[in-house]
Symmetry: C2
Subunit: 350 residues, 2 copies
């Protein structure tokens, strides 16, 4: 095909196909605005002519897509907020975003591999539940930033809320209503379980009170189950601080079903401030995570490590200072960026 | 670079880079299993040598990625089930899947354009809320299948549940409990609003009863609001049939908050059978959509229209017959495939 004489350029293809250069370029690059039929025709003409894109330009383009990948767990309302924030932040940073969601039939490893296939250059992993080694292997050496969990390995950047600050503020508020017998329903292995349970215990101990933690979970059923267990034991506390809002909603439903009044008989609090927490018939006290700062920070940390980062660093470190509170914990240790959360007081603890 | 003499093949690159051909191939194609550093080194060597992949193979590959795109609306639990089903079905059909979610800061048009950028060859749009013209323009002529709404234009294939059958079964069940005064809270513009409202009215009229429809919505707040309005008017019916389970949960919460017993004072039903419907403290009667058949059908309809479909049709039409009930409505009209739903009776209407 190279024997047709002279270099076949995109202009040659456009002339032979009777199309504009921009249409041919869009068709060859899979850009929008070209119908399937037109695209097929242009690809056919290009192949017949033996059109070869500049190999170095193609390699360069292949290596610099500017696309960031985001892996999340489907079904948690808070993750929807984070994904929304990441879409917003990616656009502001000038990046495309490819999304994958872990579901019952689609694991995180498979999803991250799909992001690599989709030519992502770096990956943000939200709320991962698999070992770091599996993540690192699936992401094929691309830069990684993890969200909503501690840094899983030396040098891996993590962006998360300051759960100690959030839980402490929540405990102080509930103690401030005069209640003393508080129980935390833990996250049963969810990514921030340990952080929130430890923060609860520490905040209670700081006031000389026992920090009772019982098994909970991260969905409505977990909240229902925990309340049933506590009621069965006759050990219902004055306040239930749940791992997240989903579990708190379940707890609230089950308390009401049993004829217990919220907050008069039992106060209930959640974590995350998902939309249902603010619904008037729920009116749930909770801890709002700062989605805007969390997602801006994650995108910025990732962007600085992308192959196309040259020239962006001054901007990233300059006119857009990170508002996060944290700082690297050490040159060879975990790198964590923690963001301050906000207490949201509503009727469920009034 | 073509002046280096002789054709530079992938073997040349492998030799010069001191890597295996499979590693070089993986690096050039962005496949997993190659570290970022190795990939960068291989790309550098390839560019230096002036390596050119066979342009026809590259064009062919560019035109046949086998990737299907899925656009969904984030935040609805039923969409999580559909996305899970689509991941499963795509794997069974041998396709990769790229996902985009519409969120507050990321519209459907932008998302579908991202799928085109991600080299998808066909797109499944779940529960779209934008005009068809915008979808068609964003998808750049790629094959489209729409889910959970009627076909929006001649020739566009739609896959959805048979809402008439589902709603009729639900109305018959509630009437069977002896209740006569039923109200439907509509979807307030959600994709199946008209289908479900009409089916409710028709089922009631078939029994000689008035089919009262009031404004509702598709989230918890909508259910709370509708119950408040009905209570304010003193026109609370014996049963509330809500557009979906989210709205039904809101209605149930607000009824209980007002001291009304479910189902003794007011029965409540939803639609979709999302996970929270089955939680014991909710125990919601609902209509389960057949996610497996819906997603298999959608993938199959799309797969037959992909450029790589040659040779697959016999399989698609052969050993894996579609279990859907519907049939094309006519050669030039809308093409709709409807799937039978299932009534799930629980305590909220017992």
């Amino acid at each position: 095909m190279s024997g047709t004489g002279g270099r076949v350029t995109i202009a040659t293809v456009a002339r032979e196909a009777g199309r504009s250069i921009s249409t041919v370029s869009a068709a060859l690059n899979g850009a929008p605005g070209v119908s399937g039929a037109t695209r097929a025709e242009i690809l056919r003409v290009a192949a017949e002519l033996g059109y070869e894109a500049d190999p170095r330009a193609r390699l360069l383009r292949a290596a610099h897509t500017g696309i960031v990948g985001v892996s999340c767990i489907a079904g948690q309302a808070f993750q929807v907020q984070l994904v929304d924030g990441l879409y917003r932040a990616a656009r502001e940073h000038g990046h495309g975003l490819s999304l994958t969601a872990a579901t019952e039939h689609h694991g995180e490893v498979e999803g991250v591999r799909g992001l690599v296939r989709d030519r992502c250059e770096g990956i943000v992993v939200v709320d991962s539940r698999i070992p770091y080694e599996d993540l690192a292997s699936a992401s094929a050496g691309l830069p990684l930033v993890v969200m909503c969990r501690p840094s899983p390995a030396p040098g891996v950047e993590a962006v998360r809320s300051d759960d100690r600050a959030g839980m402490t503020a929540l405990v102080e508020h509930v103690l401030g209503t005069g209640r003393r017998d508080l129980v935390h329903l833990d996250g049963a292995g969810a990514s921030c379980t340990q952080l929130r349970s430890e923060a609860f215990r520490a905040a209670m101990e700081a006031r000389g009170l026992p920090g009772r933690v019982v098994p909970g979970g991260q969905d409505e059923e977990a909240g229902v189950r925990a309340v049933s267990v506590l009621a069965g034991r006759g050990s219902m506390p004055q306040a239930l601080l749940c791992y997240n809002d989903h579990a708190a909603l379940g707890a609230l439903l089950e308390l009401r079903r049993r004829g217990l009044r919220v907050p008069q008989d039992v106060a209930v609090a959640g974590y995350d401030d998902i939309p249902v927490a603010g619904v008037s018939a729920v009116d749930l006290t909770t801890v709002r995570q700062d989605v805007e700062v969390l997602t801006d920070t994650a995108l910025q940390r990732l962007a600085e490590r992308l192959p196309c980062a040259t020239g962006r660093r001054s901007r990233a470190g300059g006119d857009r200072p990170a508002r996060e509170d944290g700082a690297p914990l050490g040159a060879v240790g975990a790198v964590e960026h923690t963001v301050a959360p906000h207490l949201v007081v509503r009727g469920s603890t009034a």
